[in-house]
Symmetry: C2
Subunit: 344 residues, 2 copies
């Protein structure tokens, strides 16, 4: 027994004894319709279990009520948290979220953006990607569709939300300096990524402000694989004089550093202080708990969605906005004054 065809507005119209146009107006309470008709049509629609076809609506209304989001890694907790919040906010406004994973590959990014455009997404949220060729980025903004950047510039006419990585790293570094540290090692992912760069800047600024010249040898910013970080940590520990603090820019870095430290039997914070820029389960729950610079993932997602919705609203003034999400330093148990002190 075959299932009955999906109901269309034509069925509803017939059942209610009106024309298609009238049925549409009645269902959307738009234009002139008598209350009686509205009632009759609604009843018919309900009885038939009619649901308007979003695709047909999209075609006619030239709006899909879908926004796309492209990030370098869907599974990265930082993005995942942002996605969740953005989805929730958008969904409340009747928009659905189409996601894509660029894997930090420009070609993939371009491909996906084109795909989304063909899919007629109403807007696009773009996470950071290595920022080699700026003109490609601009090409993305074809003026038809609003693009909002996440930790990333996406054309002068477009809005963006940034996490204040620079200030986060700056304050983290200051915190260590205030404790008396001078040789602060920096573990970062590639400095080509914009967030990474800002963090390194913040680190350098805090150092210089305290009259300490940043040392090249203390800065390790290349690949973000955990194995790499692990060996870098080992290498840092063998320096003489050795660094007294490790500033880890990102969860992967923290993990690698912690493993290195542990392997050599360095105790935190007795032998070395550790601070992470970017909070995580690992930092929160490690023993000892790792102090971290944190920011509100949900806020990022919400602001992103908010900015997008604003752009999508019919009475948008078209002004680009740049919003900076603040960071805060959460002191836990992983930082102490350098040198041998209060055992345990």
């Amino acid at each position: 027994m075959k299932r009955s065809r999906r109901k269309t507005i034509r069925d509803v119209a017939e059942a209610a004894g009106v024309s298609i146009g009238t049925a549409s107006r009645a269902l959307n309470r738009r234009g002139r319709v008598s209350e009686a008709t509205v009632a009759r049509v609604s009843a018919a629609a309900k009885k038939l279990g009619y649901e308007p076809d979003a695709i047909a609506q999209s075609l006619r209304l030239r709006s899909t009520k879908v926004v796309g989001m492209l990030v370098t890694d869907l599974a990265n907790p930082f993005f995942a948290g942002v996605i969740r919040a953005a989805e929730e906010r958008l969904q409340k406004a009747g928009y659905a979220l189409l996601v894509g994973n660029t894997a930090n590959d420009r070609a993939r990014e371009k491909f996906l953006a084109d795909l989304f455009r063909r899919r007629r997404v109403d807007g696009l949220i773009m996470g950071p990607c290595e920022t080699e060729d700026a003109e490609r980025t601009v090409a993305l903004d074809d003026g038809e569709m609003p693009v909002i950047g996440l930790d990333r510039e996406v054309g002068a006419a477009q809005s963006a939300v940034y996490v204040d990585h620079r200030r986060g790293a700056y304050e983290a570094t200051r915190h260590l300096i205030n404790l008396g540290h001078e040789r602060i090692a920096l573990l970062s992912s590639s400095s080509r990524l914009s967030p990474g760069r800002s963090r390194i800047e913040g680190y350098g600024a805090a150092l210089r402000e305290a009259g300490i010249e940043p040392q090249e040898a203390l800065i390790r910013a290349q690949k973000s694989s955990m194995e790499f970080v692990f060996s870098e940590a080992l290498s840092l520990m063998s320096m003489r004089p050795a660094p007294t603090a490790f500033l880890c820019l990102g969860t992967r870095m923290l993990a690698g550093a912690l493993q290195g430290l542990r392997q050599n039997g360095w105790r935190v914070p007795n032998d070395v202080s550790v601070l992470s820029v970017g909070d995580s389960d690992l930092a929160r729950l490690y023993a000892p708990a790792i102090s971290a610079v944190s920011w509100d993932l949900a806020a990022v997602g919400e602001v992103l969605a908010e900015l997008m919705l604003k752009r999508l609203s019919p009475d948008d003034d078209g002004r680009a906005e740049r919003i900076l999400i603040p960071t805060q330093l959460i002191e836990r148990e992983s930082c102490a004054r350098p040198g041998a002190l209060f055992g345990g």
Copy 2:
């Protein structure tokens, strides 16, 4: 200066001097078209920068090339990992992924599923949700659209992929039993969720198989908030005789338990063994590293996508498949024989 209108196939046809129909056939290499025409049309399309409108295609072809995915928490690493893999596989086959967060709320789930249906997604992947009312679940399967379950039954006619939680928990428990443990505490999230239930079953089975009767008092399966687990852990530690091992079903549980243990100064594994079902950064990188039952997130996502694609392929035989993803126990440093021994 207004940007020029988006190019349609009509523009292409005009530029190539053919009818719309012919242009379409040429672009899709479908039906009868001369090679010369194909060349001319393609050239015109390229010159104009024509991109077919996916919405119009969807309407005509009755297929959106979009699949929806509903999970209880987009930001949960377990789901995030699965989503990433599924997205990648689907995207390779020309499908995009629409995501939704049900927050473990049946009403939201229903709402989103309906929404996705209205959006005419070609298929739906559904993550687990509390499984109180089975008939609702079945109602979801309206026969129009394939539904694939993730750790969840979604109607007899539909495929699903399950992680073998039962066996995972079983083996974890056996491992502890083999080490000599008898009083094994179990920390789990709500037993109403299907994965949770299977795990508890596995635990019970292993115990009984070893001639140990599971004790109610050792099983704490309610809410999954970390605070709750923390206090449960404390309560377990105050039992006399106290449990010699903690089996934590899920990352949250592990985190809470670890904090409780730490607060009371119990050392792992000297004073108590800890085992986690479900691997995580925390388990991997904690000191000591926590043994865990792990499974391949990417495989889950891929299989999910594969099953969906199979269902979507025109020559699908319509047979429902159930695929079980195996788990493996990863021994690390958190388990030892019970009683005072080898001081670390």
